[in-house]
Symmetry: C5
Subunit: 341 residues, 5 copies
């Protein structure tokens, strides 16, 4: 296959790709929903900032045509379609290209759901590609409509920041929900150890590692974006990018902290379950050991020798009971003193 | 939510935010306690150094207004309100912004208590934001009042250093108290192993890791501050910042050392408890193994066959005792020789 | 042995070395298959791009002669013959030299098969050295023949990229097949633990580590190639090299992720098998412990003392049964309450 | 407490602080022992090199006065008094400040003894601060007196090197004595495992880690010193500093090597003691298992049923012995064949 | 001891130090074997390249005199005599100084034998210092004598490369022999586990770590040598040094790979031996558990109560056998179903 050929690798989808367009400057805002791909070409150029939001990357033909409209490199189009693409930032001539993952955490299934998101930012335009319809950008849209803050009066770069910020805010929600489960797990460890389940700990670990794999590359990506020499990013936006970079580092800190906690839980669980097992075995084995000599003694007087004087003593039976009780008590005291039970 | 919107995320508080003001130069010092937010605006500008200490960051409106008075970036105000913000240093146009954690260690609960502290240092002013009332800065206030040292004659940057130094000195107290517990734990390991508790070791580890997470970013932060090109920090203050940087590295060294010690304790505890368990099991199993053949022998002569000549021998019973004692002694010697018991 | 003396270290081969030649520019393409080494010298120089594909590096004399034709340093020729050479990139005067490994994963044998590949890229020519015949470059040949894409109109550097891309695409196939096996292994862990086999996990780990060893150096190699100051690589090709670099990082990410998963599987397997073992031992030991006192009691009444009043009671036998059932039930309830069984 | 206030944190001491002075140049050497602090001020300035050796840092007043005489920054004086100060190198205006630890290893107590040493090197003078009297610098003094080597004719920087070299030579002695113990421990592991003691291994590890903590910072410190732009250090001395840097790296190499060896010993000890335990348990359990059916058989013929034909057979008793021997031998052979014993 | 005083620290030797001299240029070669130290001074200077090979570094007086002849820094002479010196590269005025280890692997003793080798390269001369006589440089001598390759016509720097290359080629031999043993160990793991011995694995690990310690510093050393600004190394030799650097990296790769494999073997060995142990214990304990109720039952009917109706039933004895067989079979089926045996 020729490099630059877009191939969709995600799950099968049949929904139509939806293209929403928003054009705004400080004074006016024009919004078009679900327009046809052909009418998109009319939007290219023009004044103000154009935000094209594409929902669905499974129709590679549409991606290819959008790429043509905005003069996007075929390798970029390939990366937009490739939902397995790891987060990255690339500086192409004329535009900036970012790949991120949106992350949701499904608590009941204990599963991280990743969604591939690509952003292309050029002079006066911004194109975002989502895999599925979702409401994560609604806050940004609302702020644009209400003309709150600097978003309306700044360029496409601040708009890119706003989208990234919305996504990174979603990371906090996901990592905190995940963290609540882990904390509950740790609390159970010392109170109701039976409720702690190794398969669950294993599951948390897998999800946290997946999370980390998605967020970790963002650290470098945002640092590169912040310090990139591209003229598309204004000095003011860089201050905001530093803020989202800081948030990503905080998410990574939390993830690493939870990972350490899971390791700690695993180790302590093993130690405690092994300790508890040992306690039980010790008690049971001690009981067996106390009965060992007793069973031997009763065996002795069950023998059928003709000549066993003890059997004919008047208090033989009572005596053997006394001996046995003495042996049992002696052993019990010995084990107790040696702290074996 | 728009970026730069301050949100308080700490525990609910109803106390009124307290604003204390101190203005000083080499000759005069003027102190105002608990002033209203409105009268603060009158303090902006003016000669000498202005130190505003704000106790309580839960009233975001007050933070916003202070931000306006001193021309602070909304993202900074957001970070001041966010008590989960990790330590960082940022160079904004016109001021320097630092976030630190004050750390106390509550010995009885074995818990690290973190308090979020933000410092904004500008030309001729310094604003510190504390979460709770506390006496950690009393030493600095006293030195200002008594006009001891260079603090009175230097700028806001040395004052910032003085606050940081007070906080880092608090780290030493906390880490040493924590360390005493760990050392006691290790001493017990080889003398009174029963007193060592895995849950306690687990707890120390969690607290030490939390401590580390709070102090670690300071290492880079202070190094950046020391080498920053900001004109707000004089060459002389940089020598002092190097000193506090050195203290932070020493705290981190101590933390890492305690972490290693805890790992060592955990491993040795497991090895020793497993060793001890094994010793016990070996002895108990050996006892059982000695009684096994004895019980068999007495079983043999408990059988009811018509024709068992031994039963009718005159010394049969005595003989069987001799055999049994010989077997038991033989096994005991064998086990002893093989170093099994 | 003098440095720069080529020595073939791979398995013994007797096949004749096959030399295929392709010369192309934007308009014409000329293909010669399996030409003699002597006729190759006539091809040196000339217009367009010359791609020489050499299949077989075991005949060092042929390598030496090709080296002479194209003025290749003896150390390069030595590295071409050395099939154990680790991946590397070197910038020689007049040409660029790359070593890669082609990787196939044989699923049934659970074995990684490595093939040593060297590429020499000079002004107007490209020489690739394969160990064995294979069809991995057929896609590139086909695209050249059909004159699709930029390949025909660009220089030897883009052709080198095309070969690298074909090889790295093969890495994805190999790592995914390997990954499928690991995922199946993990799924079995919690459903059919008996099917999980430590030798298999050990084998996966060995293969994954071998894979990593081959791919890891490519990371730096491609980064160096991308940023090298060589004039042989055009600015446009560098964009493509960045893409293949990105793919290599993605492969390494996948490998690291699978490695972590294998570690996780190993740990969880051990924990679970130890847990299960413990469960069994606990139940069995508990049963033994319940029968211990019962066997003792029946032993007591098997004794032959003359004077054992219980033996002559009318309901003695029934009573002893009641006692024994009570003891067994009591112990069972006790163990159940202590959560020992 | 004001920063720059010297506080002594070591153990209580009552000895008087001893100040020894040596002034030398290529031709003359003048030595004064145990002079009063007041007469020291007369020594400041003057020709040649002045070496002041201060034994005891517990009298902070003396330190403060020496600081005044030589114009030393208060933060430096604070670090001289602080015996917990980690090794560091700092370039102050007018002088260079180094902190090192002298290390002795007390073999019988298996304990590292650290002593805090500070060196201040200025133009024409060198001040060394020791905690306790000791003979570690006697070699340097002797070489000065005998006018051997370049020491007499060079500046204060080479003298600083000589002191550092003497201290680092002490590290080798300490680390080798420590290493001998570890090697002996490892040798015992495979020959007389009973002599290996986990508490001892734990102790070695703790001491080695303490050692490492003291030496590790020297690596960077000496590298900084070697490459520092200070005019106080001549080009020739830098060659010597590179040598002592190289020695420090060698000490760290040895430490890391011993650490790895200790880890290896710990792992192997656990594996071997677990293996040995398992061997014993296997044999004991096998014996128990062989006697299980035998005890059952003799139990059978101890039953008192009226109608047990075997009991009345002429060779019943002999037969039951044959059966029992057959069962025992069969089980023994089975276990032997399965390699269970 | 004064720095720069050479001290020999290796094993006691009494052999005379042998000095061999070779002087060559493109046309002539003059070889002198075992010359006296006094006649060496006559060789200093002169045309062509002078290679002095000194066998034995235990006679420090000879080293000191050679140092004088060639104007070598006393610290270099100290490092030549110190056979424990770690590999390093140093650029002195007028010459380059390299320390390497020659490594042989003694298979039967499973021991790495290190030999300290120092090389001093100056304008027109090269001095190599070996600890023991050996034939590792014979290949280089032969190539010089036969005037093969560039060696005769190049300077002392290429000659230094030739010696290094010979030594690094020896690393491959040693590491491969060591690797064969490790691979054999791994193969045994899954086929004849009894043959795998933890002490052997421990030994391999120790040797591999020693190997690594000797080779690892070469990585940086050769990289520094390759990029050093010394005029003694020509541009052409740098290409060759890059090649030997590449070989060293390959050796380190192999070592790291074997280390990982040893870790893998250790883990898998422990898991498998623990698994196997568990299997055995499970079976033995199950057998004991099956006989527990049987022994109880026969005990019951061995009691001597007057009134035990079952004893007098015609088919009592047969019935009890049936019950016992039923119990045993039931338990066996239950255990089998629960997959306990």
């Amino acid at each position: 296959m020729e490099p630059g050929t877009p191939i969709y690798v995600g799950e099968n989808r049949s929904e139509r790709v939806q293209i929403d367009v928003m054009r705004f400057d400080g004074e006016t805002l024009c919004e078009l929903q679900d327009i046809a791909i052909d009418s998109l070409s009319a939007q290219v150029g023009g004044s103000g900032v154009l935000w094209v939001n594409v929902t669905g990357v499974h129709d590679v033909e549409i991606l290819r045509r959008i790429g043509e409209f905005f003069d996007i490199h075929p390798l970029t189009v390939e990366d937009i379609a490739n939902t397995d693409q790891r987060p990255k930032f690339e500086d192409y001539p004329g535009y900036i290209f970012c790949v991120l993952n949106m992350i949701r955490y499904d608590k009941t299934a204990n599963e991280i759901a990743l969604e591939h998101l690509s952003i292309v930012v050029g002079k006066g335009y911004l194109i975002s590609f989502q895999e599925e319809p979702g409401d994560v950008f609604d806050g940004v849209r609302e702020r644009l409509r209400q003309s709150k803050g600097k978003l309306r009066t700044s360029g496409s770069d601040l708009c890119m920041y706003a989208l990234m910020d919305a996504i990174v805010d979603g990371y906090f929600v996901a990592v905190e929900t995940l963290g609540d489960g882990i904390e509950a797990c740790e609390d159970n460890l010392f109170t109701q150890m039976d409720k702690v389940d190794l398969a669950q700990v294993h599951g948390y670990k897998r999800e946290i590692l997946d999370f980390r794999k998605s967020v970790w590359p963002l650290r470098d990506e945002l640092s590169m974006l912040e310090r990139s020499e591209s003229e598309l990013i204004t000095k003011e936006t860089r201050v905001y990018l530093r803020d989202v970079h800081d948030h990503v580092i905080q998410v990574i800190d939390m993830i690493d902290s939870y990972l350490g906690q899971l390791g700690n839980i695993h180790d302590t669980y093993l130690s405690m379950s092994s300790n508890r097992m040992n306690e039980i075995m010790k008690v049971l084995t001690t009981i067996a050991t106390i009965f060992n000599p007793l069973t031997f003694i009763v065996g002795v007087y069950g023998m059928n020798f003709d000549n066993m004087p003890e059997l004919h003593w008047a208090y033989g039976y009572a005596l053997v009971w006394i001996v046995m009780i003495a042996v049992a008590a002696g052993l019990f005291i010995l084990f107790k003193k040696s702290k074996w039970i």
